[in-house]
Symmetry: D2
Subunit: 293 residues, 4 copies
C-alpha cells in the first residue's frame, strides 16, 4: 500500500461560534482536545462538520493554526482545503502544508457541474503545488458532483493523491475501489451508517463526527474489526446505529452541537442560516443518547 | 427467533426451455440435482431466475411437482407463488403447500402501485389459506413496488409470515430490519453484490442463482461468516464479486444459461422476448469465469 | 404524416367487476357507450385503466368483442394487447385484428429488464403477424422499462408502427420526438397533468381516462388547441388540473370508479388486490368534482 | 398581480475574464450592451451564467456598478446576491439596492441541506434589510436544495418577495404555482428547454443566457405567446430547441463563450476549474448555430 499515516477513527471537530456568530477559537481548542484524549487516531478540521464553506479565508487560517498548535503532533492532522476555484484551493492547500498539516482533503466543489477533465486538471494543479498527501473526497450530497469510480482511479495516478474517501452511502463503490486498486490505495468511509459495511469491505478508516459524542463505541467497532471479530463488530455497530443515523439526518454541525449540550458540554452557537435543533428533535436525541450510555 | 428451516445458501434453479420455447422438465431436473449435490442448503424454484412470470399455470405446477419429486426431502424447498391478482396468488400458494413445499415466497407484483393497505390485505388473504411459512420479498426493480421497512414490519404481524427477503441493494434496509425486529425474524439477502455486507449485517441466508455456476465459492463465504472469520469472508467475497455483478447486470436467466454453456453444461433455450447473451458478452463472461477457477 | 385514424381525445374505459370480482360485461358496455355519446374521438379498451394485466385471456377476448359490438364503427378502436411473452402478445394482437380493432397498443412489459435488441425483436415479431397499425407505448411506471427516444426511433422503422404514446411525464421526450421525427409520426400524450404542455408541443392526441368523468372539459381543451387559442386552452386546462392530478395519484381504476359513483353512476367493483378509495379520499374527490361542475 | 417590472426575455450576461483569469470589466460592458440593444426586456448579472459563486466580493461589486452604469435605466436590472451565509447575502443585497438595482434574485445556496424554517429565516432576514423586490429562485441542480411548492408559497408571504423563478425543469411545478397563487404572483422560467411549456403554463418571463447568441428567436417566441399564436410559438420554439439544449448540457458560461467566438465576437477567458469546450464540442456547436441562422 502507498504509505499513509491515516487509519482507524478520523474525527471531525465542529467549528463553534460565539453568540455574535464569530468563530470561537478557545472553545474550538477545548473540543478538539476532547477528541484527542478520548482516543481518536487522527483529526480532520475544516470538513463539512466544521462548516468550512461558511468561513472566511482568515477564519480558516485561524482554525488550521489552532489545530496544529493544540495537537502538538500527538495524532496526524488532515485539513479540508476545498474551494470552488482552483486558485483558492491551491492557496489554502499551501497554507495548510506550511502550517504543518500531515495531509489535505479535497472535494471538487461545484456550482457548474465539472467535466472529468476539469476535475483532473483541478486536482493536478493543486497536487503540483504541495508535497503532502491528498485525500480525494467524493460526496455528491454536499459537493454537488459525483466522481465515478473510473474518475477516482484517474485521480490516483497523480503521485500525491494517495487516499480516497467515499461518502455516497453505496458500499458497492468501495467494492469497486478495492477490486480495481487492490491494496495499493487506502479508501476511507465518510458515511456513518455504512461504518460496518465499509470496514467489512476493507476500508482503512472511518472519517466521522461521532467521536464528539460516543468515542468509545467508535473505537470499539474499529478494534473488533482489527481483531477479526465480526460478531463483536456487529454487536457494537447496532448499538450505535440509531445515533449515527440521527446525526446524519439532522446535519452534523447542528446535531453535534445539540448532543454536546445534552451531555453537559458547551457546544457554542451556529452561523446563520444554520439553526439549532428544535425542542422535539432535542427530546428525541436525548432518548437516543440514553440508549448508548 | 421464529423457527425456520432456511439458512445459508438458498439456490435458484433456472427454468430451461426447449428449442420450441416449451419448458424442458428433464433438463430442469438435471440442473436442480446439480444444485443439491453441490451443497446448496435449500432450493427456490419459480423465482425471478426461474422466469416465473413468463410461465402458464400448468407450467408452474409442473415445475413444482418436478422439484418436490427430485429433491426428495434432501433440502428444504421454497416456492415462488407471486401473482398480480390475489385470487391467483392464493391458488398457487395452496398448490405449492399441497405438493409438499416447505415455504412460499411472495413479492407483491404490481401494475398499479398498491397502497400499504392493499398489500397487507393481499398477504393476509394468502396467509389465511395456507399453513406453511411465507417469505415476504421486496424487490422494486422486478416487482414494481418498494415495501418500506415499516410496511415489512406490519406484514410480520401476520403469524405465518416469518421471513423477509430484501433485494433493494441498500444494506441500510437490513440494518433497519435487524434493529427493529431483533432476532425474532430472519432476513435474507437477494442482492448478489451485497452478499458480504448483508452477512456482516446479520442476514440468515443468501438467495442466489450463483450456485448454478460457482457453488463452492458461495458456500465458502457462508462458512467464513459462520466461523466469525471476516478476513477470510472478505477474501472469498472479492474473488467472486466480478461474477456476481456480471450475472446481475446481464439478467440472471440469460447469464446463468450462458455460464452453464461456457462450463460445458446444457442450459437449454430462453423464452422470447428474452434472448441469449451476445458473442462479446459471452467472451467477457469467459474471462470472468476463468478468474474464479 | 403517416396516415392514422387517431387524434384528439382517446378515452380509456374501465373494466368493471361484479361483487364476486368477475368481469361485468353489461356494465362495461354501458360505461363505454357514455364515452362515445359524450364525444370522445376514439376509445382504447384494455389499457392500464382497464386493468388489462389482471384479466385472463378469455376475459380480454370478451372485452374486445363487447367493444367492437358496442362501438359499431362510430369511433376508431385502439386495443391494448401487451403481454410479458412475445408469443402471447402475438396471440392477442391477432385476436384484436380479427375482431375488428383499428389499431393495437403495445407496451414492452418487462419483468427482466429487456435490452433494446430484445424490445425491437419483440415488436418486429408482433408487427409481422398483423396488418393494422401499432402504437408503441412508453410508460416506465407501469411497464417497468423506459424506452429511450433513440429506441422509439428504431421502432418507427417497422412499417406498421406508426404511433408513439409517451407517459413518462417529461415533456422534453415529446420535444425530442417532434424534432427528430418531424411530421412523419404522430405522438400521443398519456400523462394527464401534461395535457396542455403536450398539446403545446404538438401532440396529436391525448389518451386519458378523464372522459369517464369530465368529457366536456377534455374536449374543450382539444378544441382550444385546434383553434390556436392558447389563452382559452390555458384557462380550460387549469380548471381540470386538480382532477387530473387526483385521478393519477390515486390510480386510475380506483379513482374513476369512485368518481362515477360520486356522480351517481354505477362503477362496479374492483378486483383484488385493488381496493376502493378510503372515505377521506372520497370526501376530497367530492370537493374536486364540485370545482369543475 | 403584485406589481413588478420584469416580464418577457430577461437576459443573463456572462462574466468574462482576461488571460490571467481576472474579471474583464470592459469586455463585460461590451457584451452587456449587446443584450440591451438586441432587445432583451431586462438583464440579470451575477447569476449562474455570470459565475457569481466564483467571484470575490470586490469583483461582484465591480460587476454591479458596471451594470448600472452601462444600462443607464434603459431596462430593469435584476442582480444575483445569493451566498451561503445569511450575513453575506444581506451584505450583497444592500450593496445592490444602494447601487441602483431594481430587484435582487436569491437562491438558498446550501452546503448542509437547510430545513424549511432555516430557509424562511434566511429570506426574512434579507428581506427586512432592503426595500426592492426579491425573486426567490429554485434550482436544485446548482443550489443544492429543492424548495417545495409549499415552501415557495410560504416565502411569498414575505412582503417584498414578489417573484418566483423555477428551474427544476418540471413544468408541473409551474402548474402548481399558478393554480395555488393565481394571478397574484409572477413566476419565471429558468429552464431553457422548457421555454414553450412554461409560457403555455402562464410564465411571466424567461430568464435565459440564450440572448447572448440568438436574441431574435428568443424575442419571437415571447411575441408569439403575447399574440396568442400557439402555432407560431411552436414553430419558433422548435427552431431554437437544439441550441437551448446544447448550451444547457455544456454549462452556460462555457457554451456562451464558445458560441460568441463562433459568431466572431470576443468572449474572454474562463476561470479555473472551468475549461473551454473541446474541439469536437465546438464543431458540433457550429452546426447547431448554422441551423438557426
Amino acid at each position: 500500500m502507498k504509505n499513509n499515516l491515516f487509519k482507524g477513527i478520523i474525527a471531525y471537530p465542529i467549528t463553534p461560534f460565539d453568540k455574535d456568530e464569530k468563530v470561537d477559537i478557545e472553545l474550538y481548542k477545548t473540543l478538539l482536545e476532547r477528541l484527542i484524549v478520548s482516543g481518536s487516531h487522527a483529526v480532520a478540521p475544516l470538513g463539512s462538520t466544521g462548516v468550512m464553506p461558511y468561513l472566511t479565508d482568515e477564519e480558516k487560517e485561524a482554525i488550521i493554526i489552532a489545530t496544529i498548535d493544540q495537537v502538538k503532533g500527538r495524532v496526524p492532522v488532515l485539513v479540508g482545503v476545498s474551494n470552488l476555484t482552483t486558485e483558492k484551493t491551491i492557496y489554502h492547500a499551501k497554507f495548510a502544508e506550511k502550517a504543518g498539516a500531515n495531509a489535505v482533503m479535497i472535494i471538487p466543489m461545484s456550482y457548474w457541474k465539472l467535466t472529468d477533465d476539469e476535475i483532473v486538471a483541478h486536482f493536478t494543479a493543486v497536487a503540483n503545488q504541495i508535497s503532502i498527501p491528498i485525500m480525494a473526497y467524493n460526496n455528491p450530497a454536499t459537493g454537488g458532483v459525483d466522481m465515478s469510480p473510473a474518475l477516482l482511479k484517474r485521480l490516483l495516478e497523480i503521485p500525491n493523491i494517495t487516499m480516497i474517501k467515499e461518502s455516497t452511502g453505496d458500499v458497492q463503490r468501495m467494492h469497486y475501489l478495492r477490486r480495481e486498486l487492490g491494496d495499493d490505495v487506502a479508501f476511507y468511509n465518510g458515511s456513518n451508517p455504512l461504518a460496518l459495511a465499509a470496514f467489512s469491505a476493507g476500508a482503512s478508516g472511518w472519517c466521522t463526527a461521532a467521536p464528539n459524542l460516543i468515542p468509545k463505541l467508535n473505537l470499539d467497532l474499529y478494534d473488533a474489526i482489527q481483531n477479526n471479530d465480526l460478531d463483536e463488530a456487529q454487536k457494537v455497530f447496532y448499538k450505535q446505529l440509531n445515533l449515527l443515523k440521527f446525526i446524519v439526518n439532522k446535519g452534523l454541525p447542528r446535531a453535534i452541537k445539540a448532543g454536546l449540550e445534552i451531555q453537559g458540554i458547551k457546544g457554542g452557537f451556529l452561523r446563520s442560516p444554520l439553526k439549532p435543533l428544535t425542542e422535539s428533535e432535542i427530546a428525541e436525541f436525548k432518548l437516543i443518547l440514553k440508549e448508548v450510555e
